[in-house]
């Protein structure tokens, strides 16, 4: 009886693994490691059905911070990375993990802060001056702290403001090591300032007393790029399917689909695959 029960269990495991295997073999799919902003804003929910209708390819999106998404690509666990930190992307390609970086679209970062504005920065267009005021006022500031594209942008902005944040941070600077949504939730709960991408902010629902404090500084520009993971490094990369997704994103049709995407009547991402140097 023991043997009989044992074989039932083994049979079940084998069945589970085999049926899963078949399901995988039948469909055309690729894995895209992307950022929380593209996923949480609903952009992929808009783009992927259009792409699937045209090509039949299932795009499986894993949303992570830019640093983690590039790491997923480096390990060979994704076919495509779609992220927003240009210097990291260029390093990814230079190190041989990616084939080529294509610019796709941009949006902008905004500084979010509480309505009572303890650092007196609301309405300003100068992000560097605003950061200096926040530091001097010791007003609560939430940092992503997760090596994401937004985190990289935030660190760069502190540098532009002439502040060595690693040295100058005090109890007012809270590094939470989480995604954009979690950072906004934290800021909302503690009435703190936080740097966010506009897309996530527009689709974020738990705003509490938060509002846009600083926007419109050209240093808040946020460029997205897409890269095919190197099939030379990782031979299992689905090169053709993945390349057709990249080609579609930067085609006039894909760019128009990005242009058409709106939340509450507001455009979230601006296609710029054809802008030189983007």
């Amino acid at each position: 009886m023991f043997k009989f029960r044992h074989s039932i269990a083994m049979g079940f495991i084998a069945f589970a693994l085999l049926t899963g295997q078949n399901a995988l073999a039948q469909e055309k799919s690729i894995v895209v490691a992307s950022t929380t902003s593209t996923q949480d804003s609903g952009l992929f929910g808009h783009l992927l059905p259009l792409f699937k209708a045209k090509t039949g390819i299932d795009v499986r999106v894993i949303s992570q911070g830019t640093g983690q998404a590039l790491d997923t690509g480096r390990r060979g666990d994704a076919d495509v990375v779609f992220v927003h930190a240009r210097s990291q992307e260029e390093k990814f390609v230079a190190d041989g993990f990616g084939v080529k970086r294509f610019p796709v679209m941009y949006n902008d970062f905004i500084l979010i802060g509480p309505k009572n504005d303890p650092a007196k920065v609301n309405g300003s267009k100068d992000i560097a001056a605003a950061l200096v005021k926040i530091k001097n006022a010791g007003a609560l500031f939430i940092s992503r702290g997760d090596k994401s594209g937004t985190h990289a942008a935030e660190l760069n902005l502190w540098k532009i403001a002439g502040i060595d944040i690693a040295k100058d941070k005090g109890p007012w600077y809270r590094d939470i090591g989480q995604g954009m949504g979690a950072a906004l939730n934290t800021a909302s709960a503690s009435n703190a300032y936080v740097l966010a991408d506009r897309g996530t902010w527009l689709s974020f629902k738990n705003r509490g007393d938060l509002m846009i404090s600083v926007e419109g500084d050209k240093r808040l520009f946020n460029q997205y790029g897409v890269i095919l993971v190197s099939p030379a490094k990782h031979p299992h990369v689905k090169k053709d399917l993945a390349q057709s997704f990249i080609d579609w994103l930067i085609s006039p049709e894909g760019q128009k689909a990005i242009d058409d995407f709106k939340v509450g009547g507001e455009q979230l991402f601006f296609p710029n695959a054809y802008t030189p140097g983007a």
Binding site: R5, G20, V31, D40, R60, V61, G76, L184, N185, N206
Partner: protein, 230 residues
Amino acid sequence: MFSSAFWMLVTGDPGLYRIIGLSLYVSLTATLIAAAIGLPLGALLALKEFPGRNVVTIIINAMMGMPPVVVGLMVFLLLSRSGPLGSLGLLFTPRAMIIAQAILIIPIIAALARQTIADIWVQYRDELAAMNIGTAGSIATLLWDGRFSLLTALLAGFGRACAEVGAVIIVGGNIDGFTRMMTTAIALETSKGDLPLAIGLGGVLILIVIAINALAWTIGRTGERLAGAA
């Protein structure tokens, strides 16, 4: 707004039902696999004397409290394309989530089964020794006779599998329509700031777990009565 998740449940929102279906498929499969390993292991620990048995028992008891995120990370490193089992291509699939949950709950099922079997073993020891059916035969007999009590061990394992988010979000990737489960959907909605939908999904998850426990309990009680009557 607070009831939006329940409204989706009532109106048969296909996305929600796919998420519920995947949660049940993954957690039930993981529970069955963990039972196939954990029950015999627990029984073996209960009745076989061998050097280091106490150490193994202590380790398994301690592993009941293993953080899911650690299990997730271990499975991630194993299944990643750069890891030892990378060529299987299992990462970011439902099967990776089944493996992670099974590993997570094997210690729970084994530890609870060990306790249950140890209690029965006291009553059966002489009888089984007289039957002279060996260790494997004794284990099979004890597992069979203790099957209604052991249901609790399985439910504890299933409950843990259903409730955890740390492991499946790492090895599954929370891919919409493919590896998104109840718990990872709750985490996602929370991060999007849609707290009413998140708490609604949490309520739905609790209802489902209660329903499955009620079903298992009823089956167990009915079975016990029938077995007693026979």
